[in-house]
Symmetry: C2
Subunit: 300 residues, 2 copies
């Protein structure tokens, strides 16, 4: 890779790749029942940054795999992320009217359809992961393992578990270990899964896989620390949600525990851990390095 | 099998087998987050008849497989069925306070936890289906196929799709094809999946698998026709819900289209189709035969 390598251009190219694949993999919005498929597509194409699928593709390539083979798993991951946002926004949960500046799914399609669109997106992810047309490229055993890691990290001891503890903690005093539990589960679990699944599909050795998981753990947490910081300092336009809305809800944040500077320091440490994990890799891990930097640097 | 074979005893033994396995496979209710795992277990153990897992095990045995190998898939199927009931009962959906005579999940645990318990049960099904400890017994390819069939039949073009059309149809005049669409998707898809997955795990030939699918389609529909009939004629104790509640909601039913006698006739025809599909099988298909009879005869 030459020095003209540019993260922004890379991310845009990858978003295009993922969006195009999602459009191909999702049922068309005139497939029956049309209302359901419209609702599913609405949230999937509501302007996500595709960070999880991009990480999955980058992990696959870092160990010598090709992005094309990992695209179905990358899109399955984004479907699971989208479902989680639809359900998080529901009146019974966070009761949000807007996300990324657009009306939330239930505001457009009604609560019942939003619940079912979330259910269907979660299920669609597993349809895609087990599709013989895509699984043929890796072994049956790799396919089973990918399904297992995706489900475990999305389920009651992964993402959903983190969401429950987050909900239980609202308006309560919680300690730092509880805050870390919430984030390593609610956000971290899927990011970790992205790295591990990318590694498997790319044919990683045990050592490479382990290294990519350590990278994933570090940037998953860094991502959340950065989000907490941005919730305080960013202007509303940039984030598309209310400034300081976490604090207004009485949600615990890293800056509340560590102060703003302490939180920034923590984000930097996590970036260093992530970069160290990538040390054994060659230039193919450059996107992963740059992404780690980007996550943390935007908080300064 | 001797002539002393007794369906009731068979079903009770199978319910015991499935319940015991579900208890083993589900996270303990003190596993963190405890509230979530309690909510998941509450609905799974709320007195279901386990018809889907029992059919899955019976299909596996009908082609010479052993029930033990099919137990994880049977339990995964019941988890998906349980999740669908939790979400169906939500205030935004059917808004039911009771199911099988017990308070619905959201009445006990709150709406947010009920939504997440449903999400987690759906996800847990895929954790179980891809667990290496169970998948080792069949090939990686069988494992992939089982995941695929389960997801396809549970998703937007299966069970969830049927639920959406059912919801859209409430209080509207619908035609018989729409009613059949609702039932073949909302209820039929999972029952069909139970037969097909049991066949795969049991090592069925293509012909056997095809025959079991035809059986599954017929009894899936028979099951729903019978339910519609029972909704009109059964007493409240037996069904644990309000008599004639479908009619009160303006839901279309088979008796409304065909009359009570016409609906019974249709149920009997479906039973005949189911039994004919089993013709090539030996005595190992007796449970499937008896279940087909039981589904239909209880309506007389």
């Amino acid at each position: 890779m030459s020095d003209s390598w540019n993260l922004q251009a890379y991310l845009e190219q990858r978003i295009g790749l993922v969006d195009e694949a999602l459009d191909r993999y999702l049922p068309a919005d005139d497939t029956l029942p049309a209302a359901l498929h419209k609702a599913m597509r609405y949230s999937v194409f509501a302007g996500g940054k595709r960070i999880r699928p991009i990480l999955l593709l980058a992990a696959c390539e870092a160990v010598g795999g090709t992005a094309e083979h990992a695209l179905p798993a990358a899109c399955a991951m984004e479907m699971i992320h989208s479902y989680s946002l639809i359900h998080d926004d529901l009146p019974a949960m966070d009761d949000d009217d807007f996300r990324r500046g657009q009306p939330t799914n239930h505001r457009v399609f009604g609560e019942a359809t939003a619940i079912l669109a979330g259910d269907a997106l979660l299920t669609e992810a597993f349809i895609l992961l087990s599709n013989p047309a895509f699984c043929g490229e890796h072994s049956g055993e790799a396919c089973r393992e990918v399904v297992h890691i995706m489900a475990r990290n999305a389920g009651s001891r992964g993402m959903v578990g983190g969401q429950v503890v987050d909900m239980e903690s609202e308006g309560k005093q919680i300690d730092l270990p509880t805050l870390e539990y919430i984030h390593t589960h609610k956000t971290g679990a899927l990011i970790l899964a992205a790295l591990e699944i990318g590694a498997i599909i790319g044919g990683a050795t045990a050592e490479q896989r382990h290294a990519l998981c350590r990278y994933g753990e570090a940037i998953g947490l860094a991502f959340q620390v950065a989000d907490d910081i941005l919730d305080i300092v960013a202007d509303q336009t940039e984030l598309g949600k209310d400034i300081g809305s976490d604090a207004a809800r009485g949600k615990a944040t890293y800056p509340a525990f560590l102060g703003l500077d302490g939180a920034r320091q923590r984000a930097r440490e996590l970036k260093e851990i992530a970069l160290k994990a990538l040390a054994p890799f060659d230039d193919g891990s450059r996107p992963l390095r740059e992404i780690a930097g980007f996550i943390v640097e935007r908080t300064f």
